[in-house]
């Protein structure tokens, strides 16, 4: 595997963890989040800061995930008070608060971010394989969750919170669980990114990044594990196969969002289900 391929595989793996983490919050549990990049950033900054203090990767990655998860649960508390578009605006605000904070903190490098991050102590190829292995575990976890009674209860909360209460589901606890797991996994992705890039800048975790993650979820099919996996691979590779696609990445992502919303609101997963149903009927 060349260095370029190892790098590409690493980026796909990190994006996959990131998109699947948002899918748990938005796709499984129905809680809109437009500030997910903040948790990616919290994990990244935590891991980067600790790594520069000499803390090994085996501890910085869990620390980044834990920090993002804890803050995610606090942010999740807002989901107990607001719903739908109000929650979307609130989570968007969280993203801006995060950026506003790190840009002013000299101990976090302010506008210049954190550079000179130590190498993970692994060959780039081995590190890429580690990312792929973790992404694989996250896929297994998501599939398991979706098929478990936790996934069943998440579906109910996403469908109708008030009806979920009348079947005995503790809606606030399930929402906080989704936020806790989803943001912790985003923090884990942030930690993995730190050792991959060896430099982090505040802009890496801005609103555009949050929308890019959401695009992967929506195009794949909100709530579908395999749809999100497929869309993450496709959307990460797209800028690599074409220079034009790279230059116009945001334009293409935006156009794809509009087309998916217009023609297949359930994303690739819904389209695939309809296609298979038609084939079975024929």
């Amino acid at each position: 595997m060349s260095g370029y391929i190892a790098s590409l595989v690493s980026v796909i793996g990190i994006n996959m963890i990131l998109a699947l983490s948002l899918n748990i919050i938005t796709g499984f549990c129905g809680q809109v989040s437009l500030g997910h990049a903040a948790f990616y950033g919290i994990g990244a900054y935590t891991a980067a800061y600790l790594s520069k203090l000499g803390v090994p990767l085996a501890l910085t990655l869990p620390a980044g995930a834990a920090m993002a998860g804890l803050i995610g649960i606090v942010v999740g508390l807002t989901s107990l008070r607001v719903r739908h578009d109000f929650l979307a605006v609130t989570t968007m605000g969280i993203g801006f608060v995060f950026l506003g904070f790190v840009r002013k903190q000299k101990w976090l490098g302010a506008e210049l971010g954190i550079s000179g991050i130590p190498a993970p102590g692994l060959d780039p190829l081995v590190y890429a394989l580690l990312i792929v292995a973790i992404a694989g575990l996250v896929i297994v976890f998501c599939v398991w969750t979706k098929r478990s009674w936790m996934g069943f209860a998440f579906d109910a909360v996403a469908d109708d919170e008030d009806a979920a209460r009348t079947v005995g589901i503790n809606v606030p606890v399930y929402k906080l669980t989704a936020f806790g797991i989803g943001t912790a996994l985003a923090g884990l992705a942030g930690g993995l990114y730190v050792y991959f890039a060896r430099i982090i800048l505040p802009d890496t975790f801005d609103f555009v990044q949050s929308i890019a993650i959401l695009t992967m979820v929506v195009i794949g099919g909100s709530g579908s594990v395999w749809g999100v996996v497929a869309s993450t691979i496709a959307l990460t590779l797209l800028p690599e196969v074409s220079r034009a696609a790279s230059d116009y990445r945001l334009l293409i992502f935006g156009a794809m969002l509009i087309l998916v919303m217009r023609f297949s609101p359930g994303g690739l997963a819904a389209w695939a289900r309809r296609y298979l149903a038609r084939r079975q009927a024929a």
Binding site: T166, V167, V173
Partner: protein, 248 residues
């Protein structure tokens, strides 16, 4: 007869207007109790406070001798206090049987972590299928609730509540919007619930069906109890007829 539930001096106001003021009554174990009254009497509000959907401004609610006033709705469900909505609220993204399965497996969703390690749905499916069969929806199990007519959606709502194994079931106008034939079928169906060990509190406007199926009636007027007792005895009272029909 033992008391299963009791509400004691409940008060609640919306925007300064008292919907329920000083409401008290008891529900006996195993009975079929109907709560009736004119529009605005506070029937649905009382039921929603018993279910934990509304929090009273003051007063206490007891279930099985436990003060449940401060418990949220989901916790009351787990104690055995079921509730059906006046306007049906199935999970539209689920099939009919999945709606009932989620309720049938309610012990598995008690906490997210327990739910994460519970995967088998067969027992819940079997229980849900049996309930749907008994309630007359066996042919609809794979259908979306969207495709069901209102009468069948109302039955689905009751099926979902039964699947929770409630000891007390609060039914909020389950006959509303149904044709007279559908209402009679539904009333016959819910009349069988006490025989299954489920005590029923029914809020309903359809007086004909209420008088046919209830063991006891509580009449509300202006947020408090006007009368209570056996249906024939209560309906013979002049003050009840005046409050309910406006005619002495």
């Amino acid at each position: 007869m033992t008391t299963l539930a009791r509400i004691d001096d409940l008060h609640i106001s919306f925007g300064g207007v008292a919907a329920v003021s000083g409401l008290s009554f008891a529900v006996n174990a195993g009975e079929f109790l109907a709560v009736i009254g004119p529009n605005g009497a506070g029937k649905t509000t009382a039921l929603r406070m018993m279910a934990g959907i509304l929090r009273p401004d003051s007063g206490r609610i007891f279930f099985d001798d436990q003060d449940v006033t401060s418990l949220p709705a989901h916790a009351r469900v787990r104690l055995g206090l079921g509730f059906t909505h006046q306007i049906v609220r199935p999970f539209y993204s689920f099939s009919t049987i999945e709606n009932v399965m989620l309720a049938a497996g309610h012990r598995r969703t008690e906490s997210p972590w327990r739910a994460l390690f519970e995967r088998s749905r067969q027992a819940a499916r079997d229980k849900a299928a049996a309930i749907l069969e008994r309630i007359g929806l066996a042919e609809q199990i794979t259908k979306s609730p969207r495709s069901l007519p209102l009468g069948q959606r109302k039955r689905l709502e009751v099926a979902r509540a039964i699947a929770l194994d409630p000891r007390l079931l609060l039914l909020d106008e389950p006959l509303a919007g149904l044709s007279s034939a559908e209402a009679a079928t539904m009333a016959d169906l819910i009349r069988t619930l006490p025989a299954l060990g489920i005590t029923v509190v029914l809020v309903e406007h359809n007086l004909g069906e209420v008088l046919r199926v209830a063991d006891r009636i509580v009449v509300l007027d202006a947020g408090k109890v006007l009368a209570e007792g056996p249906p024939a005895e209560v309906m013979a009272r002049a003050d009840v007829r005046e409050a309910y029909t406006g005619v002495v």
